[in-house]
Amino acid sequence: MKRVICPRCGGVCGVPEEARKRLLCPGCKAPLTENSTPQNSISRVWALLIAAAILYVPANLLPIFDMELLGRPSSDTILGGIADLFGSGMWFVGAIVFLASIVIPLLKILGLGFLLISTSRLGSVQARLASTRLYRAIESIGPWSMIDVFVVSLTISLVQFGRLASFSPGPGAACFAMVVILTILAARSFDPHTLWAIPEEN
């Protein structure tokens, strides 16, 4: 038996040495996260992250819109839509979409990958503090990449003109939504304990 302190109520709980399951505090039933082993968390995050990185490619290459304007069919990818916005002088909106749809997902994938690779090599307290801050930032910007999914849904609901124009979501839209969900799940699966697990160098 080893003893851990419950993060919620502060009570001391005895847990088996080699606990594989998630254990709950006997007093307040809060999960004692120490027993979700760091190694478990790391491989789960890798799996989600690699799936997100793979889907990032079709999400950007395939059209998110299929549209037909006055009988002329055309389609629009994420980057194409941003280029249109910039082309017609709407810099501000273009920048919002560029940040939300291209930069944030990429930053999340690269940032989490960096955290996963660097966890075992962190020595100084400063490096760990910086990594913890990076982790918190990645976790909080997550939902903002959903903007383009909402834009697709609103556009197709607003534009229902029968023969004049029709919009429908392309295959890229579902891929993109999956990228957003997978990166949010990956960020939530990352156990920040791993950043502090190895004793500090002094």
Partner: protein
């Protein structure tokens, strides 16, 4: 003095008694470990109830009106979800419906119910499953992101047609804003612990 474990880095530390509205940061990783006791739930309860009223209004009155070549079309928030469903995009439809309408509404109702129960003297321990459910669904709630998405879609479509914001849009804006103020800084899991009578000997 209580012993508490940082949920981010796992460091165990003693927690001094906190004044209301103060928060304690972990000595090692500088993440928030605890907040001062909440003396009154009046303000967050009022904000959440107001948000809930605007949520109901935003869902029931016209959101955006669009005019194109003599055709006038009025949309509600829910039209985006049904349009995606009609288009056989079930995954996107459910995703948009959940994150923009269903989960924020559920979250606000749960939070209001919880706070009302606490004020009526129900013990925190019995409400813990509810607060855990709230924490579980919280990442799926993104009304603010939806609002930005609506803005981007409106700007994109304004090249094509005349868009008039309906009263529902203003209600949705008020709802998103009140949601952020009311729920954004509310740590219901912590509030529940504060309302529990403290046990001695820990």
């Amino acid at each position: 003095m209580d012993a508490i474990r940082c949920e981010v880095c796992g460091a165990t530390q003693s927690l001094p008694s906190l004044e209301p509205r103060r928060r304690a940061l972990c000595f090692r990783c500088k993440s928030e470990v605890a907040r001062g006791p909440t003396l009154s739930l009046d303000a967050p309860l009022a904000l959440c109830l107001a948000a809930l009223i605007f949520w109901a209004l935003a869902n029931s009155i016209p959101f955006i009106t669009l005019e194109y070549g003599g055709i006038i079309q009025t949309n509600r928030v829910f039209t985006g979800v049904t349009a995606l469903w009609m288009d056989h995009q079930y995954f996107l439809s459910v995703l948009v419906g959940m994150t923009s309408i269903a989960i924020p509404g559920l979250q606000l109702s749960l939070a209001c119910g919880l706070m009302l129960a606490l004020r009526r003297g129900v013990s925190g321990g019995r409400l813990r499953p509810l607060s855990r459910l709230l924490a579980f669904i919280a990442p799926g709630s993104m009304p603010g992101v939806y609002l930005v998405g609506a803005f981007v879609a409106a700007v994109k479509l304004s090249q094509l047609a005349t868009l008039t914001p309906g009263p529902g849009l203003y209600c949705f804006g008020a709802f998103a804003l009140l949601w952020v103020i009311g729920l954004g800084s509310l740590d219901l899991e912590g509030v529940i612990e504060d309302f529990r009578p403290r046990r001695s000997g820990r």
